[in-house]
Symmetry: C2
Subunit: 132 residues, 2 copies
Amino acid sequence: MKYIEKLRNSGLRPTKQRLQICEVLFDADKTFHFTINELEKKIKKQINSKISLATVYNTIHAFEKKGYLKQIPINSNQTYFDTNVSDHHHFYDLNDEKLIDLENCDVGPINILKKINGKKIKSVEVLVKLED
Amino acid sequence: MKYIEKLRNSGLRPTKQRLQICEVLFDADKTFHFTINELEKKIKKQINSKISLATVYNTIHAFEKKGYLKQIPINSNQTYFDTNVSDHHHFYDLNDEKLIDLENCDVGPINILKKINGKKIKSVEVLVKLED
DNA sequence: TAACTACTTTATAATGATTCTAAAAAAGTG
DNA sequence: CACTTTTTTAGAATCATTATAAAGTAGTTA
Ligand SMILES: [Mn+2]
Ligand SMILES: [Mn+2]
Ligand SMILES: [Zn+2]
Ligand SMILES: [Zn+2]
């Protein structure tokens, strides 16, 4: 019930599928990173019903547009998303192929000295690659 | 002729195709960013011969493995490469969908305060997204 | 509730970047 | 020139993602 308002306020109808996806994404103890494929498995396990893959894609993109999810840029054939939408950075473990959060305080302040005429900074993201 | 040694020293046979791709990539006045698709067009225009798409992929990946190219992580359906292999960061212009180099000196020093046990830092990359 | 409209879900097909395959060609070696 | 190994190539396969279009659902108004 707790996500109905949230969806309505975003102009998204609170459908059964969207509410189920909300549960999986936002009722977790901790925030987490995922690909669509991983999320699909998680949904199947947690909720005991099938949601069409197209709906999962649609919903994730809708949630991203509304700012409830972030897309994490790493070189992968699959897109990674993050339920942690706070301003933060990432470790990427090249061996385990896993993302790890770096809170903003874990990285010293970042100073972008160069300016581009007529453009403004929307975000600053740091990706730290790790290896054994 | 000037790339024959470079390729041999890397254990890559200096074939006609590899030498032509070297010319396009490394004889340019400035370093540049590209996707495989963009590179294919560039090759067709500059060199007047066709190189199989599979060969372009093979060669680019071979060059990347040898450290002659860098892969740039941005969220795109296509992989971006960089002929500038120096340690540097990027602006990504969301409107023009173009990468712009940020030399290391354009960004203050970055301090990663968090450590992960048994892992060492391989690289630190900053992506600054720009909008109008 | 019924009727109506707009939005959503779904199975399935299409797309498109990338990788694979296996045969022909080229390079290196002696 | 043989002979081996690597490379190129066209075309097929893969697979994440997006498009399609028909059926279902939500919201609204009577
Ligand atoms: Mn997307
Ligand atoms: Mn690659
Ligand atoms: Zn994160
Ligand atoms: Zn660059």
